[in-house]
């Protein structure tokens, strides 16, 4: 039984839980390229308020910053921290593809081999995929990020600029 549990609560997860990265809302939510969303897990009440700041880079939109306030379990808190680490500084397209990779890992029922190149600390969540009730915890902030990013994109799309969908 302990082995199962340890596969869920990897050291990396507990570390991020104790010391979450990028926690605490930053920046001005009303400035251009910034969007803020509030997501909840209806089953357990876990919540995240997440702010995304996009800027225009030479080759498209870039995730300038992600910050958040969140209450939730170790899995959801650690996942938020890891997510922020992974997407900040990446072009939106690339960040979306990391999102997709993480999603596939979570929905793989423990059958998907995690790609450390792409997911870095995120590979620690491979064990979560075997606990269907916890998958939602791990995905809460990733879904919030996707939503906020979509809003920031439509919001800040410079007229005549490139739009992504």
């Amino acid at each position: 039984m302990s082995a199962e549990l340890d596969s869920l609560y990897q050291e990396i997860i507990l570390d991020h839980y104790k010391n979450p990265h990028h926690k605490g809302l930053r920046g001005d939510p009303s400035s251009a390229g910034v969007a803020e969303v509030h997501h909840v897990n209806p089953t357990c009440g876990d919540e995240v308020t997440l702010r995304v700041h996009l800027t225009d880079g030479p080759e498209g939109r870039i995730v300038e910053d992600v910050s958040y306030d969140a209450v939730g379990c170790s899995i959801s808190q650690a996942s938020t921290s890891v997510m922020a680490d992974l997407v900040i500084g990446k072009p939106v397209d690339e960040a979306m593809s990391v999102h997709q990779t993480f999603l596939e890992l979570m929905q793989g029922k423990g059958q998907v081999e995690p790609d450390e190149e792409v997911l870095e600390d995120g590979i620690a969540f491979a064990g979560v995929a075997k606990f269907p009730a916890r998958v939602k915890c791990a995905l809460l902030s990733w879904m919030a990020w996707k939503d906020a990013t979509a809003q920031a994109q439509s919001d800040s799309a410079p007229t005549g600029g490139v739009t992504h969908d």
Binding site: V40, P42, T43, A133, R134
Partner: protein, 411 residues
């Protein structure tokens, strides 16, 4: 006989109740499947296994039993989605029965004065009264297609009935009284042409016809678990995802919410939006098993079986003097429910004499009073077959009817 299910004997063994004998030691001849179907052992066993080994509340529970129960419940949703060929599992909402599914729509689709709702004269009361109440509440007008003498929809004045103010066109796929199979795709297209929502009551179709909601193109479709070899207490509302998510909430309660404060709440998306409270969990699990069972035998094969039995029954029934079948006389154009009158004997009395011989049929208006009124009768006797029905059972019915005539000294 052509078309019968090849392993009929084996199939009958799946249904424990078919072994029953009744008062006086007579064997059961169950010809009331349009009322409710019998349950195969595998459905019963699956429910028992769930109750004895995996019972827990769903979604909310994070422990192993909760995970198992949730998986079983959500697995049933996948099976039903496959049964209907639904594009998304989220479109399958579990209700209590077909009646609740129809009332859910009638309560949540917005209607107002000037709007109209079109139904038909052959609907089951659940697809009539629900809309009557909706029209009373909203001031919308209720209209309906009449019936031809052959028991088919009278489409002659369709152009007057369905118009740009029509908000809903709701109709049964197969009539539970007349057996009529309606031209569903035509009706759906007519609704779409006027921007109306199409609602199909597939309660009698789901047991015996392959259903493909994408091919039919309807907006909503409902059916009920207990007529497709599943348990009572479970029904299905299918609808296009974006339409369902645009409807206001129906019942308020656990699981349908996103967040709740004392002053106000926000709501989840479908399917949870419409599944307030603890859902019929073991019932969904039973239904999932039932549609798998039907799928395994094959809906095409079941349909062929029903048509063969129906043709044989139509022939047998017409050999009884003074018997008049209501609805289409061509087996290929109808389902397996056959309602009839017998001169000089009231349906109750027919059913009673048949019952004394073990033959179970239904007598009454079968929750289709307007269709009975259309044919000038208060009530009728209805036999209805299913995948376990044998030609010998039809023979028992026909003999029973001859006996009924002599018992009541008619003719």
């Amino acid at each position: 006989m052509d078309g019968l299910l090849p392993d009929l004997d084996v199939i009958r063994k799946d249904f424990p109740i078919l072994e029953r004998t009744l008062a006086g030691g007579v064997p059961l001849v169950y010809l009331d499947s349009a009322n409710t179907s019998q349950k195969p052992q595998v459905v019963i066993d699956t429910m028992v296994d769930h109750l004895e080994r995996h019972n827990a509340n769903i979604a909310r529970a994070m422990h192993q039993l909760g995970a198992e129960s949730t998986e079983a419940y959500e697995g049933a949703r996948d099976k039903v989605a496959a049964f209907l060929n639904a594009p998304s599992r989220n479109e399958v909402v579990f209700t209590k029965n077909a009646t609740e599914a129809l009332n859910l729509l009638a309560r949540t689709i917005e209607l107002g004065p000037g709007d109209n709702v079109v139904i038909t004269e052959m609907e089951h009361h659940s697809n009539i009264v629900s809309w009557q109440l909706a029209c009373e509440r909203s001031g919308a007008e209720l209209r309906w297609f009449g019936l031809t003498d052959e028991g088919e929809l009278d489409l002659a004045d369709a152009d007057q009935l369905v118009d740009e103010n029509t908000k809903v066109l709701a109709f049964t796929w197969v009539s539970n009284m007349l057996g009529t199979i309606n031209p569903v795709t035509d009706l759906v297209e007519r609704a779409r042409a006027f921007g109306a929502l199409s609602v199909i009551d597939a309660s009698q179709a789901a047991p015996q016809l392959p259903i493909d909601v994408q091919a039919v193109g309807c907006d909503f479709l409902v059916f009920t678990g207990h007529k497709v070899c599943g348990p009572t207490g479970i029904g299905v509302l299918w609808g296009r995802e974006e339409l369902l998510n645009a409807l206001p909430p129906f019942h308020g309660g656990g699981e349908m919410i996103e967040t709740v404060t004392m002053a106000r709440s926000t709501y989840a998306k479908v399917p949870h939006r419409f599944e307030a409270g603890t859902p019929p969990i073991v019932e969904a699990v039973g239904l999932g098993c039932a549609v798998d069972y039907l799928g395994h035998i094959g809906l095409q094969a079941i349909h062929a079986h029903e048509q063969a039995i129906t043709a044989y029954a139509l022939e047998g029934l017409q050999s009884v003097p003074g018997l008049r079948v209501m609805g289409p006389l061509d087996a290929t154009r109808r389902g397996g429910a056959i309602s009839f009158e017998l001169d000089g004997v009231h349906p109750h009395d027919i059913a009673q004499v048949l019952d004394s011989r073990g033959v179970a049929v239904r007598a009454g208006h079968h929750c289709a009073r307007p269709a009975h009124a259309r044919f000038g009768v208060q009530s009728s006797t209805r036999m209805s077959s299913y995948l376990y029905t044998t030609p010998a059972e039809i023979d028992a019915l026909v003999e029973g009817l001859h006996h009924t005539r002599s018992y009541f000294k008619v003719g």
